[in-house]
């Protein structure tokens, strides 16, 4: 027993010493002459940022841009940012954020208002959806870097063979699907993301818009989930399953599952994000060169909408170096940096001019069409409690899609709960 105690005492001392040295070391590292600007992001993307960081530091020797690698799951990165703000002084100067985090972080008072730093004219060069996604209560909290939007992928070759034009309405989509399914040209008509997760809410925003409905009005806090359009939208999704146009499994699919369905050539239409293009057209893909994109279908007489996604930079309110942080934002979101990044990675730019940039179009021929999709962008409700509202919608939508309750019941309950959340019932 004696030796046990002396040993653990020794280890304890060792541990204390090493912890002390870690702390000392950290303080020593802090006192350098250059200003360090820190930002946290997914490890995967941090690697892709490396050339940008090098170039920035070459141009700005007085700033050390430090990218902190986080987990690759975006919700874990959000948690890390949230915790570091909740615990007091944030160790970061910039926030690299998903468009849906903006209202939450802004409402919590963690972000600096950037309105005064940027002119309307220079904002006008960005896609409007991306800019609006960075606004909350009239202030601007996020400058867009890369964009994202949902759209309809279709098999150009099969539609041309059968003599169809790409569908504009949900009815056309159903009719074409059923016809080509009857003729055994394809096994499935349309695949979409129906699993209970954020992707379901994102997909449903397009359906809602296409049926003339709305989710939450950010200004009046009015909830439209039990409106006619919303219920009709859910019925349409159910109809795709009931009629066999979509496989029953869509209610458990995320993006990747649906992409595989589409890519193995058995499916005519796919709802997905821009990343699919590269996979669909890569060497060895069964559908390479046979795919086209267009804005999402809508009910007759309604306009189509594309759910706006994407990432941008916000500034931490308590940062000690706002000017240096702003220089990072300016550089990263600049046309030159975006172009370099897009060419290297195939992500979607947030500046309109880059969609028709000759060099980019030479590399990605579909970007002009992509711009059309991006122009129809619709925001998920930019309200502070978006995460909760989305979870409520996902639960009830999923219940309706899996036939546990009717679309009306589901949407009424979802609307009720959302109103209670917003305090507007």
């Amino acid at each position: 027993m004696k030796s046990f105690w002396s040993k653990s005492g020794l280890y304890g001392l060792l541990a204390l010493l090493s912890a002390a040295s870690i702390l000392l070391f950290k303080n020593a590292a802090r006192t350098q002459e250059t200003v360090t600007i820190k930002v946290l992001m997914q490890a995967l993307e941090a690697a892709q940022w490396e050339p940008l960081v090098e170039e920035f530091e070459a141009q700005n020797p007085d700033i050390d841009l430090e990218i902190v690698e986080g987990p690759n799951a975006t919700n874990l990165v959000e948690d890390l940012y949230t915790s570091s703000f909740l615990l007091g002084d944030s160790p970061y100067d910039l926030v690299y954020m998903d468009i849906v985090w903006t209202p939450k972080f802004a409402a919590a008072g963690w972000l600096a208002d950037l309105s005064d730093r940027v002119s309307d004219e220079s904002l006008g060069q960005f896609l409007p959806g991306d800019v609006n996604g960075g606004r909350y209560n009239g202030n601007l909290y996020r400058i867009p870097f890369r964009s994202d939007a949902g759209m309809l992928y279709y098999r150009q070759d099969l539609l041309a063979q059968a003599g169809y034009q790409p569908p504009q309405t949900t009815q056309e989509l159903m009719a074409i699907s059923q016809d080509l399914q009857d003729r055994d040209v394809v096994e499935w008509g349309y695949v979409w993301q129906g699993k209970q997760y954020e992707g379901l809410a994102a997909m449903f925003v397009e359906v809602l818009h296409g049926f003339g409905g709305f989710w939450i009005d950010p200004d009046t806090k009015e909830v439209g989930l039990d409106g006619e359009g919303a219920i009709a939208g859910v019925e349409f999704l159910r109809e795709t399953i009931d009629s066999g146009v979509s496989p029953g499994g869509v209610t458990t699919y995320q993006e990747e599952e649906t992409r595989r369905f589409f890519q193995n050539g058995t499916t005519l239409f796919l709802r997905n994000w821009p990343y699919v293009w590269r996979f669909a057209n890569e060497d060895g893909s069964q559908i390479a060169g046979k795919v086209a994109i267009k804005p999402m279908v809508a009910a007759p007489g309604e306009s189509s909408g594309a759910t706006q996604g994407g990432w941008g930079l916000g500034m931490v309110k308590t940062t000690e170096h706002p000017d240096e942080a702003w220089r990072v934002i300016e550089f990263i979101t600049s046309e030159a940096a975006q172009k370099q990044f897009v060419l290297a990675t195939g992500y979607v730019p947030s500046r309109r001019s880059l969609f028709t940039d000759p060099q980019i179009v030479a590399e990605y021929s579909h970007y002009p069409q992509l711009l059309q999709v991006q122009e129809t962008a619709v925001l998920r409700p930019p309200i502070a409690q978006y995460a909760q509202a989305s979870d409520i919608l996902q639960r009830y939508l999923s219940a309706a899609l899996t036939d546990r309750i009717t679309p009306e019941e589901a949407m009424e309950a979802a609307a009720d709960e959302t109103r209670r959340l917003l305090g507007t019932n």
Partner: protein, 294 residues
């Protein structure tokens, strides 16, 4: 199984010849061992297999020599500060263990030996709070951590870990003190020691075994704690093992690093396996004293 094991003695007398019944017992022992070890073993085997062997179908159970690799372990140390995770866990657990024993033993002694008003109330409270799940405390502690600016500071873990282990320490140490012969202390008093001196010179040396028992339990609980460590520490360099390991799980979009996760599991559990191997008896003692006798 049950029938067979209770009164083994009388049964052995009655049935001397070989029968199925005699096989049931060894079989149950084997089952207990397999049940307890299988998940750990599988994790260990996964951690030393090459990635190809990990995703081979049907599964490779025991890797052949060319399927063996230590790369998952080296990756932990090269790509992540795994050594500092271990150090952090060790530091936090040890410190809170020491603190817990320092605060808990005197309290236990007072509750065992001295007459204090409200003793029963204190005991009842201590007993009941052993049952509180940590989730009930996390919201209030979050506010405290924020108010005191202790975020990303080990104290934000050490203080709660000390507190959540205090009830067990008090209960175990109290039952130990009650078993100590009173004569010793009485004669010490006669010799003119005051309470504190007596504790230091006479009681403390005798309590070392009991301190070890509770210390081991405290250490285990502190090493394993997850929810506070997940919330109060956000800096990579300050994370403890359970949180760091759990976050490797969600760390890759396209490919989940099964081998690395397995290696992290093995390394994160290793110190505890050693503890259990050496101190099995003490752990059992401590747990039964804490739960049953309290």
């Amino acid at each position: 199984m049950t029938q067979n094991t209770i009164n083994s003695k009388s049964q052995d007398d009655r049935e001397e010849k070989f029968s199925i019944r005699n096989l049931i017992f060894p079989f149950s022992v084997a089952l207990v061992v397999l049940f307890s070890l299988a998940p750990i073993l599988w994790q260990f085997l996964t951690s030393v297999k090459t990635n190809d062997a990990i995703v081979a179908l049907p599964n490779v159970y025991f890797p052949s020599p060319n399927q063996l690799t230590l790369s998952h372990y080296t990756e932990l140390f090269e790509r992540r500060p795994f050594f500092s995770y271990m150090l952090n866990s060790a530091f936090v657990s040890l410190t809170s263990t020491i603190l817990c024993l320092t605060l808990g033993s005197p309290a236990a002694y007072a509750l065992a030996r001295l007459r204090i008003k409200g003793e029963n109330v204190i005991l009842a409270i201590v007993l009941v709070i052993t049952l509180f799940p940590y989730i009930l405390l996390f919201l209030g502690l979050l506010e405290l951590v924020k108010a005191t600016g202790l975020g990303n500071n080990f104290l934000a873990l050490i203080i709660p870990y000390t507190a959540i282990n205090l009830p067990l320490t008090i209960l175990v140490m109290r039952s130990f003190f009650q078993q100590l012969p009173r004569d010793l202390e009485d004669s010490a008093r006669v010799d003119g020691y005051n309470t504190v001196q007596m504790l230091q010179k006479i009681v403390l040396p005798m309590t070392l075994p009991a301190l070890a028992t509770t210390g081991i339990l405290t250490f285990i609980f502190a090493w394993n704690e997850f929810i506070f460590a997940l919330t109060f520490i956000t800096l990579e360099d300050l994370k403890t093992i359970p949180v760091a390991a759990a976050q490797i799980g969600g760390s890759s979009v396209f490919e989940i690093p099964y081998g690395t996760i397995a290696a992290a599991t093995v390394l994160g559990t290793f110190p505890l396996v050693v503890l259990v191997l050496f101190f099995q008896k003490k752990i059992v003692q401590g747990l039964t004293a804490g739960a049953v006798k309290g």
